[in-house]
């Protein structure tokens, strides 16, 4: 399926979505397509809303942000988010804030179709004071009071992977974040892959299948779909862009001209990649293979 069709079919105005990937495998291609299709009133969930959520917020797609750490990892604040929170530009957004463990626990409950998840956390923190969804529960066995967070079941999860077959059985290696939990928790899941491979490649290494095709609703082939984030074994993070984002996002004119040039100004990811040209070659990963294992019996 093309990204255009996947977003058209599975992301609607007012939906809750999650584009996961902890620094690694963040699907910018999907975020850009959501902006191009001018989705509105979205609830966007993510542990670490980074540049792609800053872009969604600054483009006016977002009504509510559910998160645990909002920054430009290693490179400063997110200015479009701050403009929205501090000045209501282009619109104010609601914040629903947890810690990483809280978000992980919410997705784990969502994936297991449990109503909540218990954890030893938040005692003495102000987070429960500003987020009434962080509650406590008493253990029926020991009487211990634990924190509890509600299940998170987004309408749609978008998960970028290194390789998948046409049914969405997906191999992921390197940092795995909460992608598996997000894929199982969401009502619909879009898998976006650097490479589409025959099913036999997936079957040759089943332990590496993080996401099984049976929870996947759409498969999109999108090389360099994570740029400027990275895909282990494919390309490194474009750190110069992350550093430059500070300046681009700080000035609303620069922010808008970035969107005009690189989001609205291209048809799709393929055109974005074509326009990036040789600069992407410098990011290509060197080879560092693992020892094969014997699956025989």
């Amino acid at each position: 399926m093309q990204m255009k069709e996947a977003i058209d079919r599975f992301v609607h105005d007012g939906d809750s979505i999650i584009i996961e990937g902890f620094t690694h495998l963040i699907c910018f291609a999907a975020g850009h397509e959501i902006i191009r299709q001018r989705r509105r009133e979205l609830t966007v969930c993510r542990l670490t809303p980074d540049l792609i959520y800053d872009q969604l917020i600054g483009a006016g797609c977002v009504r509510r942000l559910v998160f645990s750490w909002a920054g430009n990892p290693g490179a400063g604040p997110l200015h479009a988010l701050r403009r929205s929170v501090e000045q209501g530009v282009p619109n104010s957004i609601e914040l629903e804030e947890y810690s990483h463990f809280g978000m992980v626990a919410r997705l784990a409950a969502g994936a297991a179709k449990l109503p909540f998840y218990p954890l030893r956390n938040y005692q003495g923190s102000d987070l429960p004071r500003v987020n009434p969804l962080i509650k406590t529960v008493t253990c029926p066995f020991t009487g211990e009071e634990l924190a509890a967070v509600p299940a998170l079941n987004p309408d749609t999860a978008i998960i970028h992977v290194q390789r998948a077959d046409e049914n969405g059985n997906a191999h992921v290696w390197g940092l795995m974040g909460v992608q598996k939990e997000a894929a199982f928790a969401a009502l619909k899941t879009i898998v976006v892959a650097e490479e589409i491979v025959p099913e036999s490649v997936i079957r040759s290494d089943p332990n590496r299948t993080l996401i099984p095709g049976l929870v996947v609703d759409a498969v999109v082939h999108e090389p360099f779909g994570c740029h400027p984030s990275y895909a282990q074994g494919y390309y490194d993070r474009d750190n110069d862009f992350y550093v430059r984002w500070r300046e681009l996002s700080q000035d609303i004119k620069k922010f808008n001209s970035y969107l005009d040039e690189w989001v609205y100004g291209v048809r799709d990811r393929a055109e974005y990649v074509e326009r990036m040209g040789a600069s992407l070659d410098q990011l290509k990963a060197r080879e560092h293979f693992c020892e094969p294992v014997n699956y025989g019996y």
Binding site: P73, G74, E86, V104, L175, M176, D236
Partner: protein, 237 residues
């Protein structure tokens, strides 16, 4: 000479010296990462570095740019999901030392990385907790490396992101001195070479307690400085 090392280098050395061989450390990027890699090359070769991104036993070849840098994965001992990191490693009680940073730390050791000002109408919106809240509550010891000023050391933080637990952080090191918590209150235990108690008072938002036997912080050795500058790739303080 007081000018032959920077405040960052001194803070890194001070943190590194308090890490024990064989300990399991929840590392952040920046100065904590340098401190852990310094300790690993000196007295703590068996220090295990765990990053919240899921890399366990990481031995990064380059200085990681972010907590999710791909160099943390290559040649690490294990890469696990964040479910495993927070449930089995951190809540499971395996983490000896957790490093925290904060825009503010207060008299009792609470840290703030959420907002300056009121939560609903913040003067400055900061990134939020990330893993900090649970690290503060679940790591056995908490180390804090932070530059010190009246604004960053208020009597009470504007927002408690990461509460003081187990009597407060085990160690706080700033560009002026080192602190420990006695009966739940921050106490200046050593002052850096070239700094004065007056400077400390001028940069603390309350009448800070001073240890009876106030020491002078040990200078970085040339071995420590050489390692930081030459071997711990790309670091400049």
């Amino acid at each position: 000479m007081a000018t032959d090392f920077t405040a960052n280098e001194l803070m890194v050395c001070q943190a590194a010296r308090q890490l024990r061989d064989g300990e399991v450390v929840f590392v952040g990027i920046g100065l904590p990462n340098v401190a852990c890699n310094l300790a690993r090359r000196l007295h703590a070769p068996d220090l295990v570095l765990i990053y919240e991104s899921g890399a366990v036993g990481a031995e990064p070849e380059r200085l990681p740019i972010s907590i999710g840098d791909p160099s943390l994965v290559t040649d690490s001992l294990s890469v696990c999901s964040m479910f495993d990191v927070f449930n089995y490693y951190l809540q499971g009680g395996l983490i000896d030392v957790g490093f925290l940073q904060g825009a503010q730390i207060d008299r009792v050791g609470n840290l703030n990385t959420t907002v300056i000002g009121d939560y609903a109408r913040p003067k400055v919106r900061l990134p939020g907790s990330g893993g900090a809240c649970e690290i503060a509550l679940l790591a056995k010891r908490v180390f804090v490396i932070a530059p010190q000023s009246k604004r960053s050391f208020p009597e009470r933080v504007d927002f408690i992101t990461s509460p003081a637990s187990r009597g407060g952080p085990a160690m706080v090191v700033t560009d002026l001195g080192c602190y420990e918590f006695v009966n739940g209150e921050m106490v200046l235990t050593s002052i850096h070479p070239g700094c004065t108690v007056e400077q400390v008072r001028d940069n603390t938002g309350w009448d800070v307690a001073i240890a009876e036997e106030l020491k002078i912080t040990e200078r970085p050795t040339s071995e420590e400085l050489n390692l930081i500058r030459d071997r711990i790739t790309g670091f400049s303080a």
